[in-house]
Symmetry: C2
């Protein structure tokens, strides 16, 4: 018997099984084998048996049996967060992989949520038309990825031109414009800054300085500038603007559809540049993926610029 074989047998003996871990986690969370059984669709004796075999194989008590309750021991307390995470990881991994079904090439992207919703996803049909065999696994991110640890293929976010461990291509500079529902604006023309300041200003929680920057030279007090409902994502801000709740200062990239439909109008003739562009960032290893290379080439050259102004 080879050493690998011996090691595999030993590991098989002490490694908990999934049914055991599932029983353990539910018993730990509910405090009784009976309730754990209900949660797992098993009988109480199945749970009891699983806990017994788990404790036997690990050689340690995971629970104190105290007056018909299962109370975690120190060992059980140590195992619980790790078991929960492992079961969650397994579930997530399974669901992630299952989403690959039916497609040959899958790109895994992490994208700023509103950028994804308002800029990228609406354009994906053009990419799908030229590369129908490629599909996407898209997740939201607000921070750069560490591609040495993260299995994803590419990130799209606002970032400096250089990121550690990644190549960076500029997608678009960010320019911010002021928009509002037409009902909130005069019938014709644009508003001056002093006029803008009289209206409610919708705030973006992750970009709290935007209105301060906009009104930098307007001589207004910060209280005036910062009052207004606060929302966590630009998508929410835009929804509030469409609802007539106030003025929205948002990336020009995001307002094409609402301007085109008339749901929103520009409220000021000027715009404001941001110092941080939207970028595509990806690890060297992604260049070996044909689907990624096609996507990158498409997004860098073929994606048309955003639409601005009423048509």
């Amino acid at each position: 018997m080879s050493n690998a074989h011996k090691l595999a047998l030993m590991r098989h003996a002490y490694t908990p099984t999934l049914p055991e871990l599932q029983a353990f986690v539910q018993a730990a969370k509910t405090g009784t084998a009976t309730r754990a059984a209900a949660a797992l669709g098993l009988t109480q004796s199945a749970i009891s048996r699983a806990l017994t075999t788990l404790e036997a194989r690990l050689g340690v008590a995971l629970f104190h049996r105290i007056r018909q309750r299962l109370v975690l021991s120190d060992a059980g307390r140590a195992l619980l967060p790790e078991a929960e995470r492992m079961l969650a990881d397994l579930d997530r991994a399974a669901l992630t992989v299952m989403s690959f079904g039916g497609h040959r090439d899958v790109l895994r992207l992490a994208v700023l949520p509103t950028f994804a919703a308002l800029w990228l996803i609406p354009r994906l049909s053009r990419f799908a038309a030229i590369a129908p065999e490629v599909t996407f696994d898209m997740t939201a991110t607000l921070a750069p990825l560490d591609f040495e640890r993260d299995p994803r293929d590419v990130a799209i976010l606002r970032a400096q031109r250089h990121l550690r461990g990644a190549q960076v291509d500029i997608l678009a500079e960010e320019r911010l414009v002021v928009v509002a529902a037409p009902a909130l604006l005069p019938k014709a023309g644009m508003l001056e800054d002093v006029d803008l300041a009289r209206l409610p200003l919708l705030q973006q929680a992750t970009r709290p300085n935007l209105w301060l920057d906009w009104f930098l030279n307007a001589g207004l007090d910060p209280i005036t500038i910062l009052r207004g409902a606060r929302f966590e994502q630009f998508g929410m801000v835009l929804a509030a603007a469409r609802a007539g709740l106030g003025l929205a200062l948002v990336p020009e990239l995001f307002v094409g559809p609402d301007l085109a439909s008339g749901a929103l109008r520009l409220a000021s003739a000027r715009s404001m540049a941001s110092d941080t562009p939207y970028v595509l960032s990806y690890p060297q290893r992604s260049l070996d993926i044909a689907a990624f290379v096609r996507f990158r080439d498409w997004i860098l050259t073929d994606a048309p610029p955003p639409v601005t102004g009423n048509k």
Copy 2:
């Protein structure tokens, strides 16, 4: 049938089993079911069967079968790092929990490796005498822990007096002394700095500035100061010093045993203070653990100070 029951059945259907994951990872790494079988102590048909059931339950091909080789598909490529990590996590969690066996209370500590080896562990017998039911799970660390993510109970390291998300108690200020094997030193008296500089100076890789700081006012060139064998941990530095390889500039905390035994002698009459103390850091939740509270009280008040000089 309750909703929880229905969900459990669905999840049971799509969740990979451990044998399936193990077969998948080995097949992915070796490229053939035959070699995976050898690694796992199973037959080739067991591997083939496991891969088939895994792909069926996930509804996606994890391998391309290309001329009698198993080549990972995109889905397989996505799953592999996660599956490897999950199996490793499970193994580590099992081994960690198994080490709790036989003890009622376990403290999980992360400690600087040399501090553990030379200061803490030698004193643990005194703590064990007053708290025999407490045992330890001790790991090495060089960096502060993020206690929101890390399940461990306490860290002992050199750090500033304030750490995010942790309470910090000062254990000891660090003072550094110069020691050497007696054979390397004159029969009596201490050396002046100019005399020290003529001897080989043992370097500590993670503390490269120590000798620079020591000789700050000695007017020596850096080349003289920095030459010498380099070691990654103080334990290694001390071993080299005992071997007569040169002078060691090390924390006074660590040299008690060697000074007491005569294996090392002080080579200079002066010492040098460091600006960063050794601290105990721990999250609020650890205060609910009786064993931890006893340990903290012991180490802060009862642990005797280090021994300095020949006795």
